[in-house]
């Protein structure tokens, strides 16, 4: 096997591109979990965002409309989650699983209703790569980081700015207080449930956008299983990144690279004729996520986890 041709610039470039959907969702989930809400519906939010963004782009030919549709759809699903988890205070784990089932059923229905089950899947125009002047000509880094499409830049900037949001803004401080010590935050005059609502909406918006970056930005099409578990991987990455948006983003990049690597190896090793079954490569990103999560869980104590994660805030108890 020729490793030189595998580990090329193209690999890193597509690895980063494939990392962005997961990165957006994972960083969004970090915001939600920092406020103390466990949102397991991420996969469903990504999937619906992927469809909404695809439809917006497909019908109007405008990426901007697609982005707005994807973000709007993610926010709508987040509102359902917030109603269940924050207002009605039902079991957050079940809410998340239910939301995924809901989103899968609905998006499949909408897509099939619009395009039928035919073999000709509609596609959108692939987004043009934008070469950033100056930075794009840095050897090595330039073609990898600064010669991607608009959605890539948007994702990268958004993911990075979440770190600022969490650690350098008033809202971020509120967020962390609510996730760590909701009773104290409440006593200090913060509206715990309102902050959790906001955090969930941010999470939904980012997950929805992440789905669109996948369907429109990376693949130019939508399928019923386009997200293929990326939402769940994203939740694992939050644990991997120890609830710090920067580390979470780093984990997502690692995952994207593995994904690109397995596709590349599959291609160079001859696909179905390869001596190593290609299913092994397909399973690789999932196995790697599990292994990494196990290692991180064993090595790190849970002190990084927000103390009130998954616990509904009941104001009556505090009186």
């Amino acid at each position: 096997m020729d490793w030189g041709s595998i580990l090329g610039i193209a690999l890193f470039r597509s690895g980063l591109a494939f990392a962005m959907p997961t990165a957006l969702a994972a960083v969004g989930e970090t915001v939600g979990e920092r406020a103390g809400v466990l949102n397991l519906g991420l996969e469903g939010m990504m999937l619906s965002g992927a469809l909404a963004g695809f439809l917006g782009d497909y019908w109007t030919g405008s990426v901007v409309v697609g982005v707005l549709a994807a973000v709007g759809c993610g926010i709508a699903l987040a509102a359902i989650t917030a109603t269940l988890s924050v207002v009605l205070k039902t079991e957050q784990v079940i809410n998340g699983i239910a939301l995924v089932i809901f989103a899968q059923g609905m998006s499949q229905f909408v897509y099939e209703q619009l395009f039928g089950q035919g073999s000709h899947a509609p596609v959108v125009q692939p987004l043009p790569d934008i070469r950033i002047p100056g930075l794009g000509s840095i050897p090595g880094l330039g073609p990898i980081l600064f010669n991607q499409n608009a959605l890539f830049y948007l994702s990268l900037v958004l993911s990075l700015s979440v770190w600022l949001l969490v650690y350098r803004t008033r809202f971020g401080l509120t967020l962390r207080a609510v996730g760590e010590a909701p009773a104290a935050a409440d006593a200090a005059g913060l509206h715990v449930d309102r902050v959790r609502w906001m955090a969930l909406l941010v999470c939904g918006a980012m997950a929805g956008l992440g789905g669109m970056v996948l369907s429109v930005g990376d693949l130019s099409l939508f399928t019923a299983d386009v997200t293929a578990g990326r939402g769940w991987v994203a939740i694992a990455l939050v644990i991997f990144g120890r609830w710090n948006p920067l580390f979470v983003l780093g984990g997502a990049l690692l995952f994207g690279l593995t994904d690109a690597l397995q596709i590349q190896i599959q291609a160079t090793s001859g696909g179905i004729n390869s001596s190593i079954p290609y299913e092994a490569f397909q399973a690789l990103p999932y196995l790697l996520t599990i292994v990494v999560m196990v290692i991180v869980t064993i090595r790190s104590r849970r002190d990084a986890q927000p103390a009130a994660l998954g616990v509904p805030f009941l104001k009556e108890v505090q009186d």
Binding site: L38, L40, I80, L84, L88, K89, T90, V93, I94, N95, I97, A98, L99, I101, F102, A103, Q104, G105, M106, Q108, F109, Y111, E112, Q113, G116, Q117, A224, A228, G229, W232, V233, I235, A236, I239, I272, P277, E279, A280, Q282, A283, Y286, L287, T289, I290, M293, V294, T297, I298, R301, R302, D303, L309, G310, V311, P312, L314, E316, V317
Partner: protein, 363 residues
């Protein structure tokens, strides 16, 4: 003490929830009235919204639902189809109900089913035995062991190091299905089949069918499991410990419950039952290692367990109801030329309503 390292979330403070229900009418205060009422309310609401979807898809809701009903129970054949589908949903749903009671969130039933199917099918294809019942029995035992190991892996990680079982079990679904795909593509591929199919199991290993209802004897296994699980959940120390674990793991541990072993057991049992469902699908329905052996049964069974309110009897009714909705929905989509995924959409809406309704049981 490893308490701070595990995934277990502190249970929400229950005391605040147990204030008197606000509802006035005395009959509404009865718990079972509210329990059944909320399930029925969720069902009716979901069917109403489903009617809107049928409208949106260009169908007529009333006649569509009539076709759904006759597609589910309108003939012996339809009832047979319904029961055949209810078997895996019920078997998996029972295991999930038990695990969910302990707040052990196994959402990897789909992968456990495929591994069980793989173990059972490989054995039935490969073993040079000529005694049908022995081959069947060994196949189903292999299915249980396969699923139990796939689930047990998750349980061991959770019990030993507190690794989040939700994510590992879900991600292992993909790994399990890739493994299945590999086996039927290379070692156990059926060269005679036009599309990608695994080999078929010998006729002697296939589960006998009941003549007039087009259904295999696996239904008796499923039916027998209901009282067993009901007994285990409600009348045994094990079932009691599971409930303790679900209500407050910290208190359960203090009271002397070996929570780690319990978590492990719950994953092994629910995984084993999902594996059994896979084995029954191979020997009773597909008769071969079929890549489409499960139509997301592992996920649908989550709805079944929730709708059944995590009780064995409830899961039985829920499995029959969801199976009827699915089988009838297939017939409806053909008769009324509606998208097949309409049923998935209605089921999805149904789950959300169910959660909202469940909230009002606690009032």
């Amino acid at each position: 003490m490893s308490g701070n390292r595990t995934w277990e979330q502190p249970a929400p403070v229950v005391a605040a929830e147990e204030k008197e229900p606000i509802v006035a009418a005395p009959w509404l205060r009865r718990r079972w009235v509210r329990a059944w009422g909320s399930s029925i309310g969720a069902t009716v609401s979901a069917l109403l919204v489903g009617g809107l979807l049928i409208r949106a898809a260009g169908g007529r809701p009333l006649s569509a639902y009539r076709d759904l009903l006759s597609g589910a129970v309108g003939s012996n054949y339809a009832i047979g189809q319904l029961l055949v589908l209810a078997v895996p949903l019920l078997i998996i749903g029972l295991g999930l109900s038990l695990a969910f009671r302990g707040r052990v969130w196994n959402i990897g039933a789909e992968g456990q089913l495929y591994i069980g199917a793989l173990a059972c099918g490989s054995l039935a294809i490969g073993l040079p035995l000529h005694t049908g019942w022995l081959l069947m029995g060994l196949g189903l035992v292999a299915a249980i062991i396969g699923g139990a190991m796939w689930g047990g892996l998750v349980g061991a990680l959770r019990a030993q190091w507190g690794v989040n079982e939700i994510i590992t079990s879900l991600l292992l679904n993909y790994v399990g299905i890739f493994l299945f795909d590999y086996v039927i593509r290379v070692p156990l591929r059926d060269p005679a089949a036009s599309s990608l199919e695994g080999k078929s199991v010998p006729g002697i290993a296939q589960l006998p069918q009941l003549p007039s209802f087009y259904i295999h004897v696996g239904i008796f296994i499923a039916a027998a499991l209901v009282p067993v699980l009901a007994y285990v959940m409600r009348r045994t120390p094990f079932g009691f410990r599971v409930r303790m674990l679900g209500l407050n793991p910290e208190a359960a541990r203090t009271a002397g419950v070996a929570t780690k072993r319990l978590i492990m057991n719950l994953m092994v049992i629910s995984g084993g039952l999902a594996g059994l469902a896979g084995g029954i699908q191979v020997l009773g329905v597909a008769f071969r290692l079929d890549p489409t052996i499960s139509q997301n049964y592992g996920y649908t069974a989550i709805i079944v367990a929730l709708l059944g309110r995590l009780s064995a009897l409830g899961t039985l009714f829920a499995a029959i109801f969801i199976a009827g909705l699915t089988v009838g929905g297939q017939a409806m989509s053909v008769t009324d030329s509606l998208p097949y995924s309409l049923v998935s959409a209605i089921e999805g809406i149904f789950v959300v309503f169910l959660l909202i309704a469940n909230r009002f049981i606690r009032a």
